[in-house]
Amino acid sequence: MSRTPLQKLVLFLVVLVVISPAFLFFLWMASLSLKPEIDNTAYPPVLIPSSLDWSNYSAMLNEHDFGRYFTNSLIVTGSAVALALLVGVPAAYGIARAKAHKLALVVMIARMTPALSFLIPLFLLFQYLGLMRSLWPQIITHLVVTVPVVIWIMTSFFETLPIELEEASRIDGANRWQVFRLIALPLARPGIMVALILAFIFSWNNFVFGIVLAGRTTRTLPVAVYNSLTYEQISWGPLSAAAILVTLPVLLLTIIAQKQIVQGMTSGAVK
């Protein structure tokens, strides 16, 4: 069906309205981070900076231990995602093939339970074990997020893979592990990509584990940015620059891998 020019115009306007809340917000965020303080405190607000001011970024990068917090985030998220894939992908395969729906239900419940309800005992446990100065408490608690995501996405992915090929190689004498490694795993690569991206984003964005479990030197980026908001009372420019730096990896990933993200966020929901 082709559209009349009027219909095209209406569609264009409607699309514009739908994308503008997201688009304008991030545009304003970028604008805040690039303006000198004098523009940020001006009224009426200034959208286009009078001069592009990158000093907000350099201030954040140089003076606020940004490198350390970035490394912390990278270690916590990297480890939690790697561990989750390592145990979650085989588990999802097992659940899908053994049709262990009760186990899938446990994963579902874990996804629904409020994070704070795990945190009180884990906090006391880590304190008791004397781990609070290391990144281990955060790596371990981030598994609460990453393992269910990986199992959830991979289970529905493995269920879509045809079983015939696997059965044929079983008859040829391959054991279960070989079937998994040599046949199912290579086919599951697209699914693993989706699981990896979403587990990475959820772990990277996580805030609540950090504010409870992180000390001054073990903060991840979201916690560090939150603390600079409350305790140091710095001005809007550097703060917006920090906000952008924290979320930039995720936003880039969202744009580059939007197909996988859409697929992952709706897996299990639309299926």
Partner: protein, 304 residues
């Protein structure tokens, strides 16, 4: 079940389909037991103790729960949580459905633009909360400026007890409308084309097709979206905590925030655990209700 191994004995067939997969599952199961199931059980046990950090702990039975039922602040937090959840399900559901109907049309750059629309729900919540806090600023914030263009007097947004919940719901709606959109889009993509063809032959208008074909057929997907949204809104923490910490006063204190304050600010681990247990019961109960609703709307037939 198709494609059983040819000539396999009964025992072997059973083995293929059920047992033999536990070695794949064990590592994940152990981790789940350690970081999820153990804390649940331990929280339950802690809720029966008088457990203040730095003090002797003692078994006090159900006293924490008794205290909970006479704690007005807890009941206010519960009411607030339910209101917040209700609004944070309803509004994204409405806007998300509209956005999905738009993105179901074909137009240039659709994939890229969908990526932009999805950004709010993927972006780091704390980073977003920071920018919203600046936008809510009563004197310098962009929102009051935009209102002034429309001739509306400035608001106090999150700085006034009367408007803090609607303001936070605004952020939550902005953030999570894309999720509803994605779920409904998936639904729209799965609809059969025959009803539309016959409706066109019968001369149905665009609005009639929407009202009598599309909407009834995507109801199961709306229920799924409401379910996902409800579970997340109920335990919403990052946005509320980063913007208001439950304030001004206790005006935006939800159960989750109150639980955090009791356990980690007032260091009352026993009472915090009791709140956690009740909160979990609430989440699970709401989940079951929504699952039951899903059963009623014939979601299973709809997935085809």
């Amino acid at each position: 079940m198709v494609g059983r191994p040819a000539g396999g004995s009964r025992r072997r067939r059973l083995n293929w389909h059920s047992g033999g997969y536990m070695p794949f599952i064990w590592p994940a199961l152990l981790i789940t037991l350690a970081v999820i199931v153990f804390p649940w059980v331990f929280t339950g046990w802690m809720s029966l103790q008088n457990w203040q950090v730095g003090a002797e702990r003692s078994f006090i039975g159900l006293a924490n729960y008794a205290r909970l039922f006479s704690d007005e602040r807890f009941f206010e937090a519960t009411g607030r949580t339910l209101l917040y959840t209700f609004l944070s399900v309803l509004l994204p559901l409405i806007f998300g459905t509209i956005a999905a109907l738009v993105f179901h049309e074909e137009f240039p750059l659709r994939g890229f633009l969908r990526g932009i629309v999805v950004m709010p729900m993927m972006a780091t919540p704390v980073a977003i909360a920071l920018v919203w806090t600046m936008m809510f600023h009563p004197q310098l914030g962009i929102l009051n400026y935009l209102l002034s263009l429309l001739g509306i007097p400035p608001q106090l947004w999150v700085f006034d007890p009367g408007t803090v919940i609607p303001s936070l719901v605004l952020v939550e709606t902005w953030q999570w409308t894309p999720l509803v959109m994605l779920v409904v889009l998936g639904g729209l993509a799965s609809l059969p084309s025959e009803p539309y063809e016959s409706a066109l032959i019968d001369g149905a208008t665009w609005f009639q097709r929407l009202r009598f074909i599309t909407l009834p057929m995507i109801v199961p997907f709306l229920v799924v979206a409401a379910f996902l949204r409800g579970v997340d809104a109920l335990k919403s923490f990052d946005i509320i905590f980063a913007i208001t910490q439950g304030g001004p006063g206790t005006a935006s204190e939800t159960i989750n925030i109150y639980l955090y304050l009791q356990a980690f600010s007032f260091n009352d681990m026993g009472y915090g655990s009791a709140i956690a247990v009740i909160f979990m019961v609430l989440v699970v109960a709401l989940t079951l209700i929504l699952l039951w609703l899903r059963g009623c709307t014939g979601w299973r037939e709809a997935q085809g």
